[in-house]
């Protein structure tokens, strides 16, 4: 391999380096101009360097400490799962009548949290909300990892894990065929399809950026590894044409999933006759709760990330965080509306069982769960009406964590407090979490953060190619001879 041409000098290559030359013709009204995607007039070269330096730089100490802690929790969680499989579901607190407790609570909690990532990367892409570009990659990563954490539970909570293949439509040698009219089977398909689609969306969108890492790789191992995963991407016009079409199609498919997955998950509860579950509002209830908790999770992840890598402050700007806060506010208000409406429906239905369940929920032994849930989710999002709150990032961080906690309590409240008080007082019972319950739950948190930390170190955490395409000056100025240029 040889060439006599000069090396590309950083100064002279891209015209897009020269900032602020807006390619839009005509005067721009500064009053209604959108805030810039990237602060400080950074050019494409800076964006590439800033994002790649996170992967290429030395492993920071906090990363090693962080992954040791999260890895330990994940390991303990794994050990608990192994213990549970070897011993039986009795090591959990789930017992008659409360057969679903922390397992399904955590499953719903994680799978819901995933939804904000899909909404940010897919729905906002389709609606041409360009601000979402710089946070979409990390939001998608959050989606994929949260679904993985959710996926831990459905398989193990069935008790005899070795019969998990009963759930899949395998050829019928054993006289075993899944009941397609059961919402539990819908769940299997919904979650499998959600994990597949969001992983594909995440990976396929990353191919051009992985190719950038391949081109910049300095060691043989790096070049080989990134060479394999980038599949030989060249960035040719033909490849981009198919890539852009694929991105639109996947965004469309993922946007549908934002609505359908929680709808199907909510029908696990809603299609039963258990008071407190049997409600038509459940799909909407679960969906808004999902995006609400997911937006909070995005904030919880992005704020420390900006702190750890100061160069990201120009890419993930206060304006981005402000918009996620507003999303949180909107979805949180919807959640509040659903709470109030659910209570109203229980009262207005005149059904004594329905009324009894809700009365028990707020006055019985688990009232502190319901009261914590309502007091957090009705009040905390409302703080985001104030610009001062949205701009005070440490406060935003604390409030976002509180929202996540509130949503966990909500999932627990829905799943457990409906089950412990059924129609017949003879089948009433209680639920007490065991240490295995608790350590398995913290284990999933450990798995989530371990995966996220690995993501930070090994793949570009900002969608560089899409971001570069929207920088001022990165697109050709209008050229009438070429026709389609815009």
């Amino acid at each position: 391999m040889s060439a006599s041409t000069a090396q590309i000098s950083d100064e002279s290559t891209l015209t897009a380096q020269s900032p602020v030359t807006s390619h839009d013709s005509g005067p721009e009204l500064s009053a209604i101009a959108r805030p810039p995607q990237v602060l400080n007039n950074r050019g494409p070269l800076w964006v590439t360097d800033a994002v790649c330096s996170i992967v290429e730089g030395k492993t920071p100490l906090w990363w090693i400490i962080g992954i040791s802690i999260s890895g330990t929790f994940a390991g303990i969680g794994g050990a608990c799962i192994l213990y549970m499989i070897c011993t039986g579901v009795g090591v959990w607190g789930s017992n008659s009548p409360c057969f679903w407790a922390w397992d399904i609570t955590n499953f719903i909690f994680w799978v819901s949290m995933a939804h904000a990532g899909s909404l940010i990367s897919a729905l906002l892409f389709l609606t041409r909300q360009k601000w979402s570009i710089s946070i979409s990659r990390s939001a998608e990563a959050m989606t994929v990892f949260a679904i993985m954490c959710a996926g831990v539970y459905p398989a193990i909570h069935i008790g005899r894990v070795w019969f998990v293949w009963f759930l899949f439509p395998v050829p019928n040698n054993y006289g075993m065929w899944p009941n397609f009219s059961s919402p539990l089977l819908w769940d299997v398909f919904a979650v499998t399809s959600y994990l597949t689609v969001s992983s594909l969306f995440w990976f396929a969108g990353m191919i051009p950026d992985l190719a950038v890492l391949r081109d910049r790789a300095t060691t043989k191992i790096r070049k080989f590894a990134y060479g394999i995963v980038s599949l030989g991407w060249l960035g040719s016009a033909r490849q981009w044409r198919h890539f852009e079409m694929m991105y639109v199609l996947l965004a469309g498919i993922t946007s549908v999933l934002v609505v359908t997955v929680t709808t199907i998950v909510s029908s696990d509860c809603a299609t039963s006759v258990v008071p407190g579950w049997h409600a038509t509002i459940f799909p909407f209830y679960f969906m808004v709760g999902a995006v609400y908790s997911g937006s909070a999770a995005v904030l919880t992840l992005l704020l420390p990330l900006r702190l750890a890598y100061p160069q990201l402050k120009d890419l993930i700007t206060p304006s981005h965080l402000d918009k996620v806060c507003k999303l949180l506010l909107f979805m949180g208000s919807c959640v509040g509306y659903v709470y109030v409406f659910e209570l109203f429906t229980a009262w207005y239905s005149g059904n004594p069982f329905e009324r009894g369940t809700f009365w028990e929920r707020f006055t019985g032994g688990y009232s502190w769960y319901a009261i914590t849930c309502l007091s957090i989710n009705l009040t905390i999002p409302q703080f985001f009406w104030f610009k001062k709150v949205r701009q005070c990032l440490p406060l935003v961080f604390v409030l976002a964590i509180l929202c996540n906690v509130g949503m966990w309590f909500e999932r627990f409240m829905i799943v457990t407090t409906s089950l412990i008080r059924d129609f017949l007082p003879s089948s009433w019972g209680n639920f007490h979490a065991t240490i295995v319950d608790i350590l398995t739950a913290t284990g999933t948190v450990g798995i989530f953060f371990t995966l996220f930390l690995l993501f930070i170190r090994f793949v570009p955490i900002v969608n560089m190619s899409e971001l570069k395409a929207t920088l001022p000056g990165s697109q050709p100025s209008h050229n009438p001879t070429v026709g389609g240029g815009h």
Binding site: M1, S2, A3, S4, T5, A6, I8, L14, T15, A16, P44, T48, P169, W177, N179, S181, W186, F189, A190, S193, V197, L200, F203, A204, V212, D215, R216, I228, L231, G232, W233, L234, G235, S236, A237, Q239, W240, R241, H242, F243, E244, M245, M246, L249, L250, T254, V256, T260, S267, S465, K468, A469, S474, Q475, P476, N479, V482, G483, G484, G485
Partner: protein, 206 residues
């Protein structure tokens, strides 16, 4: 090592790859999205069809300048989605209503029961549609292909993420080194190079 590629008319170009291997293309680097769109447009006007443009991000108007047809990926995904609907419905309905007509929860077996088969159908349609989209993008884009003659040009290999490149392939019917060189220089190409296929021996020599 630098070689000079010379044709019989005496034009000289720097060489990338193994000079003894057949010529793959003439590569050119451009400094701006405007320049590459103009170059692609000019090449197409002059009747070249076997050339490719490489950009670090999708440049609007470039595919139009190259007169590339619309991607057929959407059609493939439509096909994938429709077959997924058929697969899902037959997977659910044939066993549940024809082979093992079991009545569960008192739910009917006739068409009135169709809504209960919708969630799985939707989930499978979305999943197979997404798999088709990604597999289609990879295969239509000529991937996975880990070796490519373009990588012989070290300027491209190192700079594909920040510069704009065009490669006019030697198997174009109008290809003549002199004509292509002149044309590319006329539209403001910065670096011109003759890219040869990289043979296994030349790669090992490195």
């Amino acid at each position: 090592m630098n070689y000079l590629h010379s044709d019989h008319e005496g034009h000289h170009l720097p060489v990338a790859g193994a000079v003894e291997a057949p010529l793959y293309a003439i590569g050119a680097r451009f400094e701006s999205p405007d320049a590459i769109v103009k170059a692609a447009d000019t090449l197409r006007e002059k009747g070249f069809t076997c050339f490719e443009s490489f950009t670090p991000y999708p440049v609007h108007g470039l595919a139009e300048a190259m007169r590339l047809p619309k991607s057929i990926l959407s059609l493939l995904v439509l096909g994938g989605g429709v077959s997924a609907i058929l697969i899902a419905l037959s997977m659910e309905l044939i066993p549940s209503t024809l082979i093992y007509p079991l009545i569960v929860d008192g739910k009917p077996l006739n068409l009135m029961a169709l809504p209960q088969y919708v969630p799985i159908t939707v989930a499978l349609t979305l999943m197979i549609g997404a798999v088709t989209a990604v597999a289609g993008m990879i295969l239509l884009g000529g991937m996975p292909r880990l070796n490519n003659p373009m990588f012989a040009w070290d300027l491209f290999e190192k700079g594909a993420s920040r510069s704009f490149f065009i490669a006019v392939e030697a198997n174009d019917s109008k290809f003549k080194t002199a004509v292509v060189t002149e044309l590319l220089q006329g539209v403001g190409a910065l670096d011109l190079v003759a890219i040869h296929e990289e043979t296994s021996e030349s790669a090992n020599r490195e």
